[in-house]
Symmetry: none
Subunit: 201 residues, 4 copies
């Protein structure tokens, strides 16, 4: 019965995905230490034991989520944006639009940003600028900023520092999204203003 075999595998994959998705949100909201397996399982809607059929331990589940956090899809999109034939101002506006849209539409995106930022911060081993700056997302953003500074549309300052500032603000509103319900988010324009000079002058 190859059909049933396949279907089984499919269901397995679906469950695994659901666990990852729901856990990401839960971990983002409560942190690793603040997350109890019993609560997590209840939240997902499965038995505690079931979790251990898919992941060896709480630690491993978290690692797997952490890995998802550096979404290659997001990096790819960012890379495409970088190479589009348009002004840096336009690129930054498009990026900000896209980010704010995802934050509003997709809880998972907020969770991803949150976890990613927190993990960067907690990188105990090498808590130096170097570690953080190695992030691909940062590097690409940096390049867009350099382009903008050349074009005169982006404020002065160390590009890396500005990139970090920009993504820091994204983290800020990812947190808002995760924790509060009726929250007044900033607009895409507010986010862009971290980098862009006043266009009305």
């Amino acid at each position: 019965m190859p059909k049933s075999q396949e279907r089984c595998q499919e269901i397995r994959e679906e469950t695994r995905s659901k666990i990852l998705k729901d856990s990401m949100l839960y971990f983002a909201r409560n942190g690793f230490a603040g997350t109890k397996i019993s609560d997590l399982a209840k939240q997902i809607g499965i038995g505690q034991g079931t979790l251990y059929l898919y992941f060896k331990s709480k630690e491993e589940l978290f690692q797997e989520i952490a890995a998802l956090t550096n979404s290659s899809k997001d990096i790819a999109e960012l890379n495409i944006l970088l190479h589009l034939p348009m002004s840096a101002r336009k690129k930054i506006q498009k990026l900000s639009d896209s980010i704010m849209d995802k934050l509003l539409q997709d809880d998972s995106y907020a969770a991803k940003v949150t976890l990613n930022t927190q993990m960067m911060l907690e990188q105990k081993d090498l808590p130096s600028a170097e570690t953080i700056y190695q992030s691909e997302v940062y590097q690409i953003t940096e390049k867009i900023i350099r382009q903008g500074q050349k074009e005169g549309s982006v404020v002065e300052g160390l590009p890396l520092k500005l990139a970090d500032y920009y993504w820091g603000v994204v983290y800020l509103y990812a947190l808002r999204k995760l924790f509060t319900t009726k929250y007044e988010m900033i607009s895409s324009g507010d986010l862009s203003r971290v980098l862009l000079k006043d266009s009305t002058k």
Copy 2:
């Protein structure tokens, strides 16, 4: 022996203060669930039992720290600033200077901001805008922003939203301060730019 009695009380107060100060940093870095009493005591440099001579439980210690988080001193300073006879631009620049200075000089300040923000976020009971906006700090900042908008130096937008944005960025760099050592902080000017229009136009 009144001298000894006094001195004893004094030492007690000192120890209590040290516990509160060190615990604030530890909780800010690790969260409530991520803080083990054994580690915390070691960090402070006292025995585990000693903690319980000063605080009934981990929970109570945390509550006491949480209470310290809304420093009346900071609020008073902000209030004085609000009523000084100067432009909003100047007020915001002074405020940003003062904040960045405290962040650099004083780990406790960073911890205070961090815990305060996190507690605002986690306010489970009423996760609505109302709860957060009631914070005195927000209200005073809002007034300065209104002044600035009238004067034309502050960007357009809902004053409350802008105040929240401003303090959000402060939180962001409080986190940086707590977690990373050789980190490139933003300048006071970068912080002010959240609110102030470009002065060079």
Copy 3:
């Protein structure tokens, strides 16, 4: 699967009963403070954590046991005896027979009597005669004693005091049962003699 559901509930109830029964013995022998959860669990033959699936705390477990101590079954039996159409002498003899029999057969009964008496004594709040005398068992016993005094078979004296004396002696031999193995218990006749005049005169 109603069968399995039912069976599960059944097992749960059995475990709970076993914990209560074994704990009663252990507490009766060692007192509340002298009972360690680790030892208690080992004695019962379950893990320490399991105890906490059935009872919130050591204190709650003890309270639940304490509640069992005023067995309504024993009170009902005593009440039936009170109203049987027979002489007080006969009633007292039957009661003594029944008590000594239970003490010999059933460790739980000895534990129940022991805990009940100790709790009456430790009643910190109102350590007056009134509290103790309110016990239903004492009141019924008192009535039988009154009947006996009218019939001339029971010794003179305040009925309540005599009831207390009688149950005190029961407590005495409950202790013997709990603590010593090869102990020479008194006979049912010895117990009855606390109340009954010498029948051979």
Copy 4:
């Protein structure tokens, strides 16, 4: 300064006595495990540390108290009573008078009886009749009982069992004395009746 030396020694002895006396009461009421050094010291009216100037440990303090429990004075008195030229009935009545009097007058006596009985019961090592029956007090009481049985004034039954019964009842009312305030104690006559036949027949 030999005078001061002496006086010092004297004070030391007084404090030691007070500790022993008060601790005896406290241990009798609360048991070994239920007694906290901090509470005990407060009760005695000394500092916790002071206790350790007089006794090496809680255990040693308890042992010392336990030793006091087999008061040689009581045994001597009982021995004198045994050899007085009088009937067993008279001896038992005098003994009961003396016991009830001490119970009423002297909290320490009640504590002594209580601790002594409890220690006999808890004798884990050899919980056999033999251990208990070796007690000198029991042996002397047994002899008086034998005399009484010969004289026809004491009820039939194994003398040792009757002695145990008699002292058991004493224990019962020592407990009453320790725990309740306005309690109706039995009379000396009630106590004697455990052993003596009805004299009025």
